[in-house]
Symmetry: C2
């Protein structure tokens, strides 16, 4: 791990990393860009409680080895707390929230949610036990147009373009296409299909031969080996892949998947996502999840080893464990804590200084303190983020403080300056300085900061 | 509870309330203003893990009846998780963070932290078990100028002015003043002093007679009754109170407290806080906390029953349980979840519509879908938050959707409009509409939204 990562991803309790203030500033900037993209497409925020009922979490298939339950440290009789557990994702809470509050919500309900989640996994390389998820989903009341499946990649494209982390590609597939070909070649039933999807998910890791062998072992018709191999070898531009798929006759589900994929890809282009930023990848299965149609993963081309930086898909029935109503939806999740750690470690994003305020008011004459405080207040009122150095230290030490924090501008004034109603403005980046009349100080600083 | 509050503060698990999307939008706006004020004074963000070591929490005096410990649901052998507990405030985590990372931080270290905390209190009227705290603190390395105690009220003033929730007053006192008078009249020692501070905290609730009686029972010289009564009756403008206090001779600690109070109040004024927004209140004790000098509470004048909306103070040694180094500090905390609930319930803040995006693109001709998607992308690229209605519904239903969500502008176009390169822009607030050439659409919408 390069020194920069070690310096900014702090260690306290294993699996519960914390950031340095500099890295936290960067983290907040990234969150702001994600929020902007989510709100830009019309999503509204919700936050759910960190705690869900244990019974709900387990009913929805939560892995009880990874769920943190709560108990009061000293109150054995407190049975209520025993039914509380920390949420392990933001989808189950969304399902419960929509089922409970559906009558207050306007559908299609497009919500985003940016919160930490907890998974008590064995601490491994880069597996965090607490990490932020940044989710956006569109939920329909009874039905939801397939075109929302195309809006999601448009949002992904905006986020990762604005983050300036290099070229990326959104890889798109459709579960019905996979289910269709599996059924066609003899793999039937939920359990076998799920296992097959997990095998297909390994394609990039273990290779085509391994995958076809394992699918055959699972029940795929041995005579279909070359057809299956052919299918997973399909590659190329979106339209070429669609043409190849349209020529295959693997049954109704398969055809429906191909039609969906065609509609979605056409609409993604209409939404302005360039052809270089998305592709069809028939090996994307998202095996463990509850998806039923479109699925997405996103890969950073410079660092594919990071894995998918943003994943999601379409599901038929969000709240089946909580409501008799049918709520289909489509959405994605960004696991931001781990992603930011990787981006810092691989020096794709650079951590800046330990400051947000660009201006430091120094104090060189304690007897004029009210002047310094009033000057500080004047700048803050004008919207200029300003720190004032109130420890009784030499100017040299105060400027060293500013430099250590990466502060851009220091203001210096003593008796003479206050008498003449002017302030010495020192640009610490350029090592230049100029005396400015107090009345012109705000616009002068604003112009300096615009550079 | 008025319907508005019931509608926006949703019920799930008792003590873990959630907001409606509309209330969450308001919550986020309030957070943004608090963040702006904190960053405006030069504070930088940190976030600590939700989890601390149980041993740390209990060492620092956490109330073990209120602390939620963690355990994996199915893993009795997992002893590690048994040492994890959810933090109950943000001060203990700050102390641990500063002790661990002090060598990487630039001092004075001014940090803010906005995160949920958890307290397993018995669910009572408006006591939440999960709630947001918004803290700002300045931490010194070995020493910290008293003038930072004056900067904190300047920040409080900015926050609550910008929230436009009516007149408020920051009530300021100094623990040394209280300790001085207690010692002078016979109440000595940490335990007795702490008890006396809790009694003084009750002054507003139980009245002066009750407080003086209880202080006498605790060991205060019965002959001092009238002096104590006189002291707690001191009231008036800041300078009048300071003059009265300066005339009293209750020993060295008392005098030091009065000197500190004088310095702090002078600097608060220099920071631009108007005289109407702060006062000295000798009954403010903040008994349960670890404060050693200045203490603050803030009261909303229209609704004093809400209690203090922002409290804090100066402490001598932040990290005494974690470090041999001395870190004095001063800071405040805003318990935002409960505060926002109160402000909504008392209709001091009004919850807005269930939308952030001001524009809805309607779809009236499915065969022109790529046009609608491109139009949407064009607006989003220009920074206009835009929703597109993709369900195949009648225009009437689409406009009803916009109205239910409080969306301001609907765009309508069919074959004719696309042929003529123009869009019908409908202002849903004014019920007016106008055809605008596509090339002028962005500036036209921007000008409409500026109204």
């Amino acid at each position: 791990m390069p020194a920069s990562a070690d310096k900014h991803i702090l260690k306290n309790i294993s699996g519960f990393p914390e950031f340095s203030p500099e890295a936290q500033i960067l983290f907040n900037q990234v969150i702001a860009k994600i929020r902007e993209a989510y709100e830009g497409c019309g999503a509204i925020p919700i936050e759910t409680s960190a705690v869900e009922r244990t019974s709900h979490i387990l009913a929805k298939g939560g892995n009880d080895k990874e769920i943190y339950g709560l108990h009061r440290l000293q109150d054995a009789s407190d049975s209520a707390a025993k039914d509380y557990a920390l949420h392990f994702d933001l989808t189950l809470p969304l399902a419960r929230y929509v089922a409970q509050n559906g009558h207050r919500l306007v559908f299609p309900f497009k919500r985003y949610q940016i919160q930490p989640v907890w998974r008590g996994e064995r601490a491994q390389n880069k597996r965090y036990r607490q990490f932020y998820q940044c989710d956006v989903d569109v939920i329909g009341d009874g039905q939801l147009s397939l075109l929302y499946d195309a809006e999601i990649p448009a949002v992904i494209y905006q986020i990762f373009s604005s983050l300036e982390i290099g070229a990326f590609v959104i890889r798109i597939n459709n579960r019905k296409v996979l289910k269709g070909i599996l059924n066609h070649f003899g793999i039937q039933g939920d359990a076998a299909e799920l296992e097959a999807l997990n095998i297909i998910d390994d394609l990039e890791k273990t290779g085509l031969e391994d995958v076809t062998q394992r699918l055959t072992a699972l029940g795929a018709d041995p005579k279909a080996l070359s057809a299956i191999t052919g299918f997973f070898s399909i590659n190329g531009p979106v339209n070429a892949i669609l043409n190849e798929l349209q020529a295959l006759d693997y049954g109704e589900t398969f055809s429906q998947g191909v039609t969906e994929l065609t509609t979605v890809c056409t609409a993604i282009t209409a939404f302005g996502v360039p052809a270089t930023a998305f592709k069809i990848d028939l090996s994307i299965a998202r095996g463990l999840d509850y998806y039923t149609g479109t699925v997405y993963e996103t890969q950073l081309l410079s660092n594919p080893s990071i894995g998918s930086i943003c994943s999601g898909g379409r599901y038929d029935n969000l709240a089946e464990n909580f409501s008799k109503k049918r709520y289909p939806g489509v959405g994605i999740s960004i696991g931001l804590s781990r992603l930011l750690g990787e981006l810092i470690e691989k020096q794709i994003l650079t951590v800046g200084p330990q400051s947000i305020a660009p201006v430091l008011v120094t104090v060189i004459d304690q007897s004029k303190m009210t002047h310094y405080l009033a000057l500080t207040a004047q700048l803050r009122t004008a919207g200029i983020k300003t720190e004032i150095y109130l420890e009784p230290k030499k100017l040299k030490n105060q400027l060293a403080h500013a430099n250590k924090k990466g502060i851009k501008i220091a203001l210096i004034a003593g008796e003479t300056e206050f008498e003449h109603d002017e302030i010495l403005v020192k640009d610490l980046r350029q090592q230049t300085q100029q005396s400015i009349p107090t009345g012109k100080l705000v616009p002068y600083i604003q112009s300096l900061l615009a550079i």
